[in-house]
């Protein structure tokens, strides 16, 4: 779920771009309720992917990092096409303004206007946090399609925030997935994950995500406000992400998703 939201939001950089890619049929038939109720965990997972992934979107978001020495808010605008590519420009604060990030498939670049340098983010840099938040660049690089990477099983049903939810246990199909296990609380009507716990292969809790507010855009229910928390960080109270605006757009210009656009 985290992955979905991260990708859907394309956030603060890459996050925003990676968050909400959508399947074409979902755009054509956005109302999830029109589909028959899913019978299996795999069908639920597919419905989650269908709900949040899109072919193109533009989002403006703000991210507030609740650090040990106070809060710090960063805002960014992100363009995302298909599931893999995104372009993000930071809008505030002044120090970050103009910094851009480009994700094309499995490669990620950042552009710093002060130095006029385009840097490929790879290796251990990927494990660095995005702007000091509880999200890492590695989170943005994951394949956003949950159904591609995880086997799902329903472990129970709960009422979460007044909403009936399935509790899904996801187990990675491959060894090279960042989070070997996930636990999702999925709204039974809206097919949006309201809460998510991400685990390492060892079983250690790595990150948590709590959705505080949802919004409906073109018939899809998406997270509007959420709190990410890196469970391994001893300090801070997590990172709040708020989607200020979100627009689905399948006709984003091709030129935007190129390294040349970083310097513009």
């Amino acid at each position: 779920m985290l992955k979905r939201i991260i990708l859907g939001i394309c956030a603060l950089g890459v996050v925003l771009g990676a968050v909400t890619p959508i399947a074409e049929e979902s755009i054509a038939s956005p109302a999830a309720a029109a589909k028959p109720a899913p019978q299996t965990a795999a069908e639920i997972l597919q419905r989650i992917d269908d709900n949040r992934l899109s072919d193109g979107k533009i989002a403006v978001m703000s991210m507030t990092i609740h650090g040990r020495r106070g809060d710090r808010t960063i805002s960014a605008k992100s363009w995302q096409r298909n599931i893999q590519d995104s372009f993000t420009e930071y809008l505030a604060p002044a120090r970050e303004k103009g910094t851009k990030m480009l994700k094309l498939g499995d490669q990620l670049w950042t552009y710093a206007p002060d130095t006029d340098r385009t840097i490929l983010i790879s290796g251990h840099l990927l494990r660095q946090s995005v702007m000091g938040s509880d999200l890492s660049y590695e989170d943005m690089m994951e394949d956003p399609v949950l159904a591609n990477n995880y086997n799902a099983a329903i472990s129970g049903e709960e009422i979460l925030n007044g909403r009936p939810a399935w509790v899904l246990e996801l187990t990675a199909k491959k060894d090279d997935i960042a989070y070997a296990k996930r636990q999702l609380w999925v709204d039974q009507e809206r097919f949006i994950a309201l809460k998510e716990n991400l685990y390492a292969k060892s079983g250690a809790l790595l990150k948590t995500l709590d959705v505080n507010a949802v919004m409906q855009v073109d018939g899809r229910w998406l997270a509007k406000s959420m709190l990410y928390k890196d469970a391994l960080k001893k300090d801070g109270d997590g990172t709040s992400v708020v989607i200020e605006s979100l627009e689905f757009n399948d006709n984003l210009p091709e030129t935007l998703f190129s390294k040349a656009s970083l310097r513009k």
Binding site: G67, T110, I119, M131, G132, S133
Partner: protein, 423 residues
């Protein structure tokens, strides 16, 4: 009497040569080992103080708790105020702020794209003209190519690191790091020069940048990770450091505020206290073993000498010399042998120690993959204490050995003397 004993020793080489040689060798070992340990400790203290801890170090309590990670987000703020206050309250201490940081050095190609990258361990210090840091880090002598930074935006790289990255002075290098808020920081610098620190841990990937440049690059205006204090004579004194620490912490440390400052000493911060205690214990044990072994050796030498001089003792007893007088004269001889052996041993140990002190021993190859903050060239350090620590055991061992061997004199029976002499 002394002249008489000396004459006896000199004329009868078998009484003096072997014992003096034994004592001299033992004392030589003790003196040299003491100089060796002194050198090793001083090397460690200086390298650690100058490159890592200062003689005392001030940081926030939160930073101190995670200091090995250099958590700059927990840095000491209001640096200018703190410096002014410390310089007013403790004028005898040289105060200097530093920032330790990690990152990547990225070298661009002609299109501005990454050509090569390497992980770097950064140190931001005051590099302005007249700064004591230039001396503490021995930058002028360590310079291999180029010059020290003289203006904003210049950087020093470890020579080995620069060669690996294929950069030369005046090339542009990009530092990719994290601001104190965790954002990615990308900054261009001009390579002013390259340095070789003589420490494997630093020569692999160290960069030195002026403090103000790093404060700007890492969004740490008026902040520093640590504030180091050095005694004016640049010699670490643990007692003085402890007194200073107690006074500072009593005044400024607030356990309820994790961002209030705390001071710690070099020994505490570096963990060198255990090395120092270990080295002191090692020297004591070595001296003890030396005394015991030498005493045993000299006891045996004395016994052999006693057998050889059995007749002589008998004659001396027969002509009326008291047993205690003979015993004391033997002890007198032992003291003279001990003195002679100790002086020769001290001379040998001091000479070799001084040689190692001035010429040094390059053992950098052994530490090429090490992260220890030790200089590659090892130098001994001869002190007056080295002489004392060798002298007393030298004399003592001879005295004990002869005292034990000489006890046989008291078992001689006067009535049996002539009978023994007839044989």
């Amino acid at each position: 009497m002394i002249k008489f004993l000396l004459k006896g020793l000199l004329r009868d080489r078998s009484r003096s040569f072997f014992p003096v040689l034994t004592v001299a060798f033992g004392v030589f070992l003790i003196v040299f080992l003491d100089a060796f340990f002194n050198g090793a400790l001083t090397n460690m203290y200086n390298a650690t103080a100058h490159h890592q801890t200062g003689h005392v170090k001030i940081m926030t309590q939160a930073y101190a708790a995670e200091a090995e990670q250099s958590p700059n987000e927990l840095a000491l703020l209001d640096l200018a105020d703190w410096l002014a206050r410390l310089r007013a309250e403790y004028p005898e201490i040289i105060w200097t702020p530093r920032i330790n940081f990690g990152g990547l050095i990225d070298i661009p190609d002609q299109n501005g794209e990454t050509r090569i990258q390497g992980p770097a361990a950064g140190l931001a210090v005051d590099l302005s003209a007249g700064s004591p840091e230039i001396g503490f880090l021995n930058l002028e002598k360590s310079l291999v190519r180029g010059r020290l930074p003289t203006k904003a935006g210049e950087i020093l790289l470890a020579e080995d690191f620069a060669r690996r990255l294929q950069v030369s002075p005046n090339d542009t290098v990009t530092l990719i790091g994290s601001t104190m808020h965790g954002s990615m920081a990308v900054n261009n610098f001009t390579l002013a020069g390259t340095v070789r620190f003589g420490m494997a841990a630093m020569d692999r990937g160290a960069i030195i940048v002026d403090l103000r440049d790093v404060q700007n690059a890492l969004d740490m205006q008026d902040a520093a990770g640590v504030l180091l204090g050095f005694f004016a004579d640049d010699a670490y004194d643990n007692q003085k450091a402890e007194i200073l620490k107690a006074a500072f912490n009593a005044q400024y440390q607030d356990t309820a505020d994790e961002f209030s400052p705390v001071m710690c000493t070099l020994v505490e911060d570096s963990g060198l206290g255990s090395y120092f205690a270990m080295a002191s214990s090692a020297m004591f044990i070595i001296a003890l073993i030396f005394v015991a072994v030498m005493a045993l050796v000299l006891w045996n030498a004395g016994l052999i000498g006693g057998l050889r001089r059995y007749g002589e003792m008998g004659v001396r007893l027969a002509i009326g010399e008291s047993k205690i007088h003979i015993y004391l004269s033997m002890l007198g001889e032992a003291v003279l042998i001990g003195l002679g052996g100790s002086i020769i041993g001290i001379l040998g140990g001091v000479l070799l120690g001084y040689w190692l002190q001035y010429h040094g021993l390059d053992y950098g190859a052994m530490f090429k993959d090490s992260s220890m903050m030790v200089e590659n060239v090892f130098r001994a350090q001869v002190t007056l204490n080295s002489c004392f620590i060798g002298f007393f055991p030298g004399v003592l061992a001879t005295l004990i050995g002869n005292a034990l061997a000489g006890l046989g004199i008291f078992k001689r029976q006067t009535a049996q003397l002539f009978k023994e002499l007839e044989n």
